[in-house]
């Protein structure tokens, strides 16, 4: 029972907390993906590329303002906004003409955008790894139940619930959110009552892209910013969305929790192959609940 002793060691809790802060990022990115899937019905493979752009933009903004807390704060605002603008262009320029196409075509079209964006990023930022140093205020660790947790991870743990509440407010309390929810279920009916569905879709897509960019900006200090960071993330985000229920933002939250926890504990249990546990969790969920954990809008 060697793995049990691994599981119940003192490192477990801190591993779990670090895992949960990564979960925050997964949640932010996959909730955007889920919104786009639920309302626009686009399986957006380019979502990971938007996340990558968010990270690179955050890097550039921080370089531009010369580091420190203000530069970091600016990056957290400007990078997602830049990605949102790009999303607006993509939605109005391409997707708005293609909603009636088969999902397969939409998926491949977004994959072609992912390929194009990948190379454009290569042209703009080059192929080397980039990294962002945290401002001094974020360096160091807090103590939680006697275990060290880096301040930045703590910050992420606080950001997650804030974003969840923000999304809840947008989806449930704003007129746009209500229309978007209605459009997710029956878009013909929404346009039949005289609402311009096009703008609802544009709004949803832009919000989704903003979330992808925010995820990228938030992860920038924690990882090497590199080409290819989109490929690993997008599969995880899709799995989370599928596990939670297509188009269900709360499913995305639950899914990322399951994914993040199985990931961080899996590595403790079986260091070499721990990475398979989140995949197994998805398979298990879909075998027993083919429509995902929570209900799906599909």
């Amino acid at each position: 029972m060697e793995f049990l002793s691994h599981l119940f060691s003192s490192g477990t809790l801190s591993q779990l907390l670090v895992g949960l802060s990564r979960t925050t990022i997964l949640f932010i990115v996959s909730s955007g993906l889920s919104l786009i899937l639920g309302v626009l019905r686009i399986p957006n493979v380019a979502h990971g590329s938007l996340y990558m752009i968010g990270a690179f933009l955050a890097y550039s903004v921080i370089q531009l303002f010369g580091g420190g807390v203000p530069a970091y704060a600016a990056a957290l605002v400007l990078a997602p906004l830049g990605v949102a603008v790009l999303g607006f262009v993509l939605e109005r320029g391409f997707f708005s003409y293609l909603y009636e196409r088969e999902h397969l075509m939409l998926l491949l079209l977004t994959f072609s955008f992912a390929l194009i964006i990948g190379d454009l990023v290569k042209i703009v930022w080059g192929t080397e790894y980039r990294s962002v140093t945290l401002p001094g205020a974020f360096q160091g660790s807090a103590e939680i139940l006697g275990l060290p947790l880096p301040y930045y991870n703590l910050f992420l743990l606080l950001v997650g619930p804030v974003i969840a509440v923000f999304l809840w407010l947008v989806i449930n309390r704003t007129r746009m959110g209500k229309i978007a929810r209605a459009a997710a279920i029956d878009r013909e009916m929404v346009s039949a009552v005289g609402i311009n569905v096009g703008w609802v879709f544009a709004f949803t897509f832009v919000l989704g892209c903003f979330l992808a960019g925010l995820g990228g900006a938030l992860i920038a200090p924690m990882t090497n910013i590199s080409l290819g960071m989109d490929h690993s993330l997008i599969i995880e985000a899709f799995l989370i969305v599928i596990m939670g229920g297509l188009g269900n933002v709360w499913g995305a939250l639950l899914g990322s929790l399951v994914f993040g926890v199985t990931q961080s504990l899996g590595i403790l249990v079986w260091p070499k192959f721990g990475i398979v546990f989140p995949y197994l969790a998805v398979v298990a969920v879909l075998v027993f609940r083919p429509k995902g954990l929570l209900s799906s809008t599909w």
């Binding site: 293609l98 491949l108 079209l109 072609s112 390929l115 490929h231 799995l239 599928i242 990475i275 398979v276």
Partner: protein, 310 residues
């Protein structure tokens, strides 16, 4: 077979047989890759074009076929013919297991669960250094003499590919293939007239997986190596693009699409490293302007609409 078709096929085969006589070694290698990638795309098309099944992660079977053959040759020291059959059989077995798990799900869920199962296989191959060589893959697979030269590998690939394409063509044109298209176009009605929809889909998946595995084991013959990138999900989407580019609702479309892309990639990468940019642009143009693909477009243009699915 009509007389004209017969003559055309014979001439094409003769030309293909003569290729190594006048092409330099590198291009013989490229021609082998074109053939086996064509087989890979055609095998995928049995599931997606004929069956309407969202097989998003087809290259898993390609990879398993390749690894199966490579491992049989390096670890078990099996003779080449045995290894070349073992790889595809492993792929077919995996396809059966994955199919059983996924087959009752609806289209997009099917595709996504399939991607996740495929990624699981990829992760295992990528991490299992002691068995699969991990991210380094397996290189320098020992091959018997006739296969070791570029021309020998080419002739082997040509023979196997032609046989497999012939078999796939027969399957697509058989009553089973026709029923499969019925299932694709209207599963509810097919069920109502007594077709076992699930069984047909499952059989189509296993056949597609098997021939995908054959393509993988041919890759071992041609290249002598296997690496995890063969079964990374982006490559699966590239193979899907090949099907789409040539035309999914025609039998030869995927072959045309894959030959176009493989050759284009070889020649483009001489001039630029931005292959993704070019592929993405081509793909988006095809999706927006030619949703039936190149061959599908030509077929519709010259034969009229009744030739669909031929």
């Amino acid at each position: 077979m009509k007389k004209r078709t017969f003559v055309a096929v014979s001439v094409a085969l003769l030309l293909l047989c003569a290729l190594p006589l006048f092409l330099p070694r590198f291009y013989v290698y490229v021609a082998s890759i074109v053939l086996l990638t064509g087989l890979l795309a055609t095998s995928l098309n049995l599931a997606i074009g004929y069956g309407g099944i969202y097989q998003f992660h087809h290259t898993v079977f390609y990879g398993v076929g390749a690894y199966g053959t490579a491992l049989m040759l390096t670890r078990a020291g099996a003779p080449a013919p045995v290894a070349m059959i073992a790889g595809p059989l492993a792929a077919a077995a995996l396809s059966l297991v994955m199919g059983l798990i996924c087959v009752r799900l609806s289209k997009l869920y099917f595709g996504m669960l399939q991607i996740s199962l495929g990624s699981l296989v990829w992760v295992v191959v990528y991490r299992w250094y002691s068995f699969t060589g991990g991210d380094d893959g397996i290189h320098g697979v020992p091959l018997p003499d006739p296969l070791a030269s570029a021309a020998g590998a080419y002739y082997c690939t040509l023979a196997v590919t032609v046989l497999c394409l012939f078999a796939l063509r027969r399957i697509a044109g058989s009553p089973f293939g026709k029923t499969l298209q019925g299932v694709r176009d209207n599963p509810v009605r097919s069920e109502a007239i007594g077709v076992d929809v699930t069984l047909h889909r499952l059989v189509a998946l296993v056949i597609a997986g098997f021939f995908g595995g054959v393509a993988g084991s041919l890759f071992i013959v041609v290249d002598g190596s296997a690496f995890p990138d063969m079964m990374f999900w982006t490559y699966s989407l590239e193979v899907l693009i090949m099907c789409l580019l040539g035309g999914m609702y025609t039998f030869w479309g995927p072959f045309v699409g894959s030959s176009t892309l493989v050759l284009l990639r070889v020649f483009v990468s001489v001039y630029t490293q931005y292959w993704g940019l070019i592929l993405g642009t081509i793909l988006s143009l095809v999706i927006i302007f030619l949703p039936d693909g190149l061959l599908g477009f030509l077929v519709r243009r010259f034969r009229g609409r009744e030739a669909d699915g031929a």
